[in-house]
């Protein structure tokens, strides 16, 4: 955890503004899912996780995998704010030769594994957690998955394995924003009774308002929720959170803002009426 001089809600607001700016300047990006996962990332990186950005390879560090790799803009902003690389590098996003690709890669300090092809992160996280368990290490592994991503069969291979191996240092967080690129997640592939599904596979399940930082912090503080079982947090979120015309609109899964839309977004994310014109 890093010491933060500003309230976490202000950090979340700052991350939102920065990622919207990045996406506007890059002329496109996965803005909807980045906005839905901001509080989850802020809680993990500025409250729950133990790491030192100056020692990104420290074997005792907590790990994080962004399995929903397309929501990369918010992740990059969080990594930069956490000190893994200078915040000015964010300006290179989307430009030729930048180390900040449109999905995470190992070229980015703090990123252990690339992602972008969905359904991989939980299996990799299982491997990390299994190594830690067999070594008697204390690090935890956090992995952020999209709810649409749960349609990938490989996820459920990993769900089985994590319970089989009793990986209680593994925490999966599902960003339940209920939308994916083609529409509402439950209409595209039904995911009813999600908590029971995970429970029936042997996981400990909690549910939380994924935009409530205090609630997120509390639930992460209580890890492990039950010794011997992996845990999943179903974080209920709003896709496009914080920008009125993006909220709950599937087409903002990926999008390019007009100057007027950008101005509106920045104004709404500032709390100050004159903000937004940079």
């Amino acid at each position: 955890m890093l010491f933060q001089s500003q309230p976490p809600t202000e950090t979340a607001r700052e991350i939102r503004r920065r990622l919207v700016q990045m996406i506007y300047e890059a002329k496109g990006g996965h803005v909807g899912g980045s906005l839905s996962s901001v509080e989850i990332l802020v809680s993990l990186f500025f409250h729950a996780m133990r790491y030192d950005p100056h020692e990104p390879d420290n074997p005792g560090r907590d790990r994080f995998i962004l399995s929903k790799g397309h929501s990369v803009e918010g992740y990059y902003c969080v990594l930069a704010k956490a000190g893994f690389f200078p915040e000015k590098e964010l300006a290179s996003y989307g430009r030729f030769g930048s180390f900040l690709y449109g999905h995470p890669t190992c070229k980015v300090p703090g990123v252990d594994v690339p992602s972008g092809s969905l359904g991989h992160g939980l299996g990799v996280a299982c491997g990390m957690a299994l190594a830690g368990k067999r070594d008697g290490a204390s690090f935890r592994v956090f992995v952020l998955i999209g709810d649409g991503e749960l349609a990938e069969g490989s996820i459920w291979e990993a769900v089985m394995a994590a319970a089989h191996f009793g990986l209680d240092h593994l925490v999966a967080v599902v960003d339940c924003n209920s939308l994916q690129i083609s529409g509402r997640t439950h209409e595209i592939m039904s995911m009813q009774n999600l908590a029971q599904r995970w429970q029936s596979f042997g996981w400990e399940v909690r549910e939380v308002d994924g935009h409530d930082l205090d609630a997120l912090n509390r639930v992460f503080d209580e890890v492990p929720w039950q010794v011997g079982r992996p845990q999943v947090l179903l974080a209920h979120t709003i896709k496009g959170r914080g920008v009125s015309f993006m909220e709950n609109v599937a087409s903002w899964h990926h999008g390019e803002m007009s100057p007027e839309q950008y101005e509106t977004a920045m104004r709404e994310l500032s709390g100050s009426p004159e903000a937004g014109s940079r």
Binding site: C106, H120, G123, V124, C126, L130, A131, E157, A161
Partner: protein, 322 residues
């Protein structure tokens, strides 16, 4: 080179066990395949370094990558047919793109499974794997070479794919011969200047036999052991083309995308010469044991010698017409 020796898969598991005695970072991951990989000995000797994921190849590779990213050197082992198709995305992203210290061991490669059919043949694994940047690709020909390459992989960092066959194979490198192998080099096993054969895996023995047969007829065939398909020993391949003017490739793989393609891509850009690519045709194979399939498609020693004679006639015709 005549006596039958243990299978490459048994040589692999014996060498792996030996390496694990010295290095406790080495993990083994299997997908209900410990029998076919012959690593039950590892599971028994090192249960804490052995991971069974059930019938889930995608998860085996992802878990292997996660173990590697937590400091382990990981051998993910199972049938080549499944590991080169079912979980290619995991090999691409979690292993190659992530540069994870994971070695994918594809056992019972090629047509080892014979009559079990197309689901169990891996005749496109070289084509798939060699297009993944950062992934080394090795095909040993016999037990000695498998032992040596396994030992090398156990002592080196980074992603690799090693394909071994299932059944006992005759030896090319006598046990205890002391030959060492270095990634990106192709040993010349037989000298000749009439043509060259680039071969790898269990076809190498038959290619070498053909060269010896043809030697008695006064035909000099140079044999290159292209066990290191990636990186390929480009200079040795080009030199063989330059000095013989005719190159054949032989492999237990589709004629598309394999060693022959790698050699052709090299020669067409560096030193074009007439070439013949020998491998399995672009079709689903008839039922049959691997020995029967080898014979049916022309890969016995005598049949390969015939292919060389045909190719030499092609070379002569080309020379006369130019």
């Amino acid at each position: 080179m005549s006596s039958t020796k243990p299978s490459c898969r048994h040589a692999f598991s014996a060498a792996l066990l030996r390496a694990m005695e010295k290095d406790d970072r080495i993990y083994v991951v299997t997908s209900d395949s410990r029998g076919s990989v012959t690593v039950q000995n590892v599971a028994t000797r090192f249960p804490s370094l052995f991971v069974e994921v059930g019938i889930a190849e995608q998860n085996a590779v992802s878990i292997g990558a996660g173990l590697a990213k937590a400091g382990k050197r990981v051998f993910v082992c199972g049938p080549a047919s499944f590991y080169s198709s079912r979980c290619v995305d995991q090999v691409k992203v979690d292993v190659a793109y992530a540069h994870s210290d994971v070695k994918i061991i594809g056992v019972s490669g090629g047509v080892s499974y014979g009559a079990l059919g197309g689901t169990h043949h891996s005749l496109n694994d070289i084509a798939v794997m060699r297009t993944l940047p950062g992934l080394q690709l090795f095909l040993p020909c016999d037990a000695y070479q498998t032992d040596a390459l396994t030992t090398m992989l156990a002592a080196s960092e980074g992603p690799a794919y090693l394909r071994v066959g299932r059944g006992p194979v005759p030896e090319v490198y006598p046990a205890g011969c002391g030959t060492s192998f270095h990634s990106g080099t192709a040993p010349i096993l037989h000298e000749g200047t009439d043509c060259a054969i680039a071969a790898a895996g269990e076809m190498l023995y038959h290619a070498l036999g053909a060269a010896r047969l043809l030697e008695a007829e006064g035909i000099g065939v140079r044999i290159l052991d292209c066990w290191s398909i990636k990186p390929l020993d480009v200079e040795t391949v080009v030199q063989a083309a330059r000095e013989t003017g005719l190159v054949l490739s032989v492999e237990e793989h589709s004629v598309h995308g394999g060693l022959g393609a790698a050699v052709a891509e090299t020669l067409v850009q560096r030193h074009p010469v007439p070439m013949r690519i020998l491998g399995f045709p672009d079709e689903w194979l008839p039922a049959g044991s691997s020995t029967e399939l080898f014979r049916h498609f022309g890969f016995t020693t005598e049949q390969l010698a015939g292919s060389v004679r045909d190719a030499l006639r092609m070379k002569d015709r080309a020379r006369r017409s130019s």
